[in-house]
Symmetry: none
Amino acid sequence: MIDATPLPQYLVQRYHGWRATAFVENRAWYRRLAEDGQRPRAMVIACCDSRVHVTSIFGADSGEFFIHRNIANLVPAYAPDGEQHGTSAAVEYAVKTLKVAHLVVVGHTNCGGVQGCHAMCSGHAPELEEKTSFVGRWMDILRPGYERVVTLPPEEQIKALERQAVVISLENLMTFPFVKAAVESGELSLHGVLHDIAQGTLDQYDGRSQAFSLVT
Amino acid sequence: MIDATPLPQYLVQRYHGWRATAFVENRAWYRRLAEDGQRPRAMVIACCDSRVHVTSIFGADSGEFFIHRNIANLVPAYAPDGEQHGTSAAVEYAVKTLKVAHLVVVGHTNCGGVQGCHAMCSGHAPELEEKTSFVGRWMDILRPGYERVVTLPPEEQIKALERQAVVISLENLMTFPFVKAAVESGELSLHGVLHDIAQGTLDQYDGRSQAFSLVT
Amino acid sequence: MIDATPLPQYLVQRYHGWRATAFVENRAWYRRLAEDGQRPRAMVIACCDSRVHVTSIFGADSGEFFIHRNIANLVPAYAPDGEQHGTSAAVEYAVKTLKVAHLVVVGHTNCGGVQGCHAMCSGHAPELEEKTSFVGRWMDILRPGYERVVTLPPEEQIKALERQAVVISLENLMTFPFVKAAVESGELSLHGVLHDIAQGTLDQYDGRSQAFSLVT
Amino acid sequence: MIDATPLPQYLVQRYHGWRATAFVENRAWYRRLAEDGQRPRAMVIACCDSRVHVTSIFGADSGEFFIHRNIANLVPAYAPDGEQHGTSAAVEYAVKTLKVAHLVVVGHTNCGGVQGCHAMCSGHAPELEEKTSFVGRWMDILRPGYERVVTLPPEEQIKALERQAVVISLENLMTFPFVKAAVESGELSLHGVLHDIAQGTLDQYDGRSQAFSLVT
C-alpha cells in the first residue's frame, strides 16, 4: 500500500479558486487544447527552484511552453546508451515530435544546486562525491564549468558558475544530432538566459561573443 | 561556438510586462527570497506538457513550490548506481535538503508520453523500442503500468495508464529510503492527482482504497 | 482568583475538527513553522469585526500574514512617548523585525466603529466624548477624517468616513520614521483597500489619484 | 501624497478565487450580515503571529468571532486616563455593545513577543528598554509575569512566560469594571488557552486550580 493521502486543504481551496476564475474564463480554449493536442512554440529548461517562475516571467499561458525543470537547469551530453535520461527524453520529444521553434535554457542566481557543485568540486562537500548522492552525480554535468571558473577570484566563482550552468547546457544540447540538425536548418533557435532573482533582470548569452549581456 | 541567439522579441516583450507589473509590486519580497533562500512547503512533480500549469491551478506564488517537470511526471525506482538521475536528484534535494512537507505527483489526461508508452508496449511504435530512443527508454518506467491495464477493454486502457503514471511514481517514490523514512515519521505526505485538461477537474488517489476520486 | 472556565463545548468540538483535518494534513509544515520561525510576506491591519475575514478573502494559510486587528483598522500617528501603543508595536515588529514586503490596511463597510465616530463627532453620542470611553478615545484617531467628510451630503458621509479610516491610517503609517524609510527604499509597499461586506468587493486606494477604485 | 499602490497581483488572484467560491456560495448570508449587523457569540484575543490562525482552529465562519489581535495577545490593566488604548477599546466594544457571551485569550508557543520580553527583563535586550521602543513598552504589560517565572530553571522560563501572557491578560481583564460585572452576572465567561504550534494542541487555564491542562 502507498501512503498517499488526500490533498491538503489549502491546495484544494486554491484549486477551487482557479476553477471558478481562470478555468471558467477559458473553458472553450482548454477543451480545444485537450482535443487538438498541444502545439507549444518553445521549450523552456529551468531549475526546480521555487523562486524561478518562468511561467510568470514569460507570461506563459496554457499551451505555450513545453517546460522541463530539473536541478540547476542542466542538460547532459548526448548518450544513447539505453539508460533512462529524463532530460534527454524531454528534449527529444520537444524537438522531434513537437518541433518547437525555440529552446530556452533559463539559469538563475542564488542556485542551491550550483552552490553545491562548487562546494563539491572545491573539496568542501565530500558527501556529494559519494556514489549514492543523486544530487552530486547530477551536478557532475556542471563539473567542466568548475574547471573554467576556478582560476577566477573566489568571490566571482559562484556567479560565473551559474552562467556556466547555462553555457554547458547549450553546449551539450548541440551534441544531440537532432538538435544540431534543427538549429543548422533554421527550424530551431537556442537561447540561454540567466535570471537574477533579487534584481528581476535577465542576462542573455550570445554565442558569437561568448558573453552575457542584459536583456533590455 | 554555440549558435545561441538573443531571445525572440515576443519573449522580451512579455518579460518587460512582468518586470513592470509583478516584479515591481513584489520587489522587496523577491529580494528577501534571494537573500534568505527558498523555503517551499511542497514539491510538485508534473509533466512538461504545455497545457499543465500547476502554478496556475495551485495559485503558486514565488517561493511556494519546488517543481520538477519531466515527460509523463514519472519517478524511476531508487537506483544509487552512480549514474545521472535528474528526477532522483530533485526528489533527494526536496526531501533531504529543503525538507518539504508535501510531495504531489500531478498527472494529466491527453498525455503524449502515456500514449507513446501505450503504443510502444502494444507493439505499435517499434521506433520507441530502440536503444537510442530517449523517450522510449524513459517511458520504460511506466511499462509495469501497461501490464496492469492491458486486460481492460481497449478504449479504457489509455485513461487507466494515465492514472498508472501517477500510481507507479508514488510506488517508486516509496523505494527511496529517505522518502519512506520521512513518510513514516510523518514529516512528509505523498499525494497523487490526475488533472483533466478539458474538464478542469482533479482526481486524487487514495492509498487505502487504491482508487481515484474527484476532488470536491 | 480569575474566573476562567473551560472552553465552551462548541469551540472544543471545532478545535477537534481542525485537529483531525487541517492539522493532520499539515503536521510537518506546522512543525517546521514552529522550529524555523515565521516569515510572513505581508502585514494586514483589519477591523475586529466578525464579518471581516481577511484570512478567507486572501486565502491566508498558516505563516503568510502577520495580522493586527483593532477597532476600525486604525493606526495612530507616531508617538514615541513611552506609553503603551499596541498598534504601533505591531507595526514596528512587522517592519523592523519581520521585514514584511507589503502592509495592507483593510477597511470595511457597515463598520460600527466608524458609525460611532460619526455619531460622536456630529454630537449624537456624548457618551463617546467622555474621558473614560475607550472606544471614543480610540476613534479620536479618525476625527480628522470627519472634518473632511462633514461637508458632504449627510447620506454620503458614513461611506466617505469608512474610506477615511483607511486613508488616515495610511497617512499615519507614513509618520513612523521606519515605515517611511522602508517605503522610500522600496523594501515595503503600502496598500489600502475597503471591503464591501454585502457585495463582496474590494476597492483600493491609489495614492497618486487620491481615489478608490474597484479591484478587478 | 501617500505612496499607496495597487494590491500585488497574488492577493488580487486570491481575492478573485474567494469571490468566485466562498462569496458566491454565501452571498445571501453576507448580505444579511451587512444589513442586520454582526452578532458575534465570542471575542477572541490572539497574537498577530502569522502561524496562529484562530479562524482555522475554531472553524470561524463569517459573523461568529469578534477578533482582536496584537503582539503576544496582551490586555493591559484598566486605565481610563483619556489616552488611546486600542485593546481596551476592543474589549469595551465587545462586552458593552456586542455583549459577547465568551471572551477567549489565545496564547501560543514560539512567540517572538514573549521571547523579546524575556530577553528584555533578563537584561539581554537593552534596545527594548528604550522609551522609543513600541515593542518594549508594549511588552511591559508582561513584566509582572517575568517576575513570577524568573525563579524557575532557565529552560522552563520561556514556556512559563508564554502561559503568563494568557494569565496576566485574564487578570487584567478582570480589572475592567464592565468585564467584572458581566462575569459576575453570568453574562460573560472568560477563557484562556495556549496553542502549541508544533503539536497542534490547546491547553486551557482553569481559574480554580490556577493551572493549565490539555483540552481533550
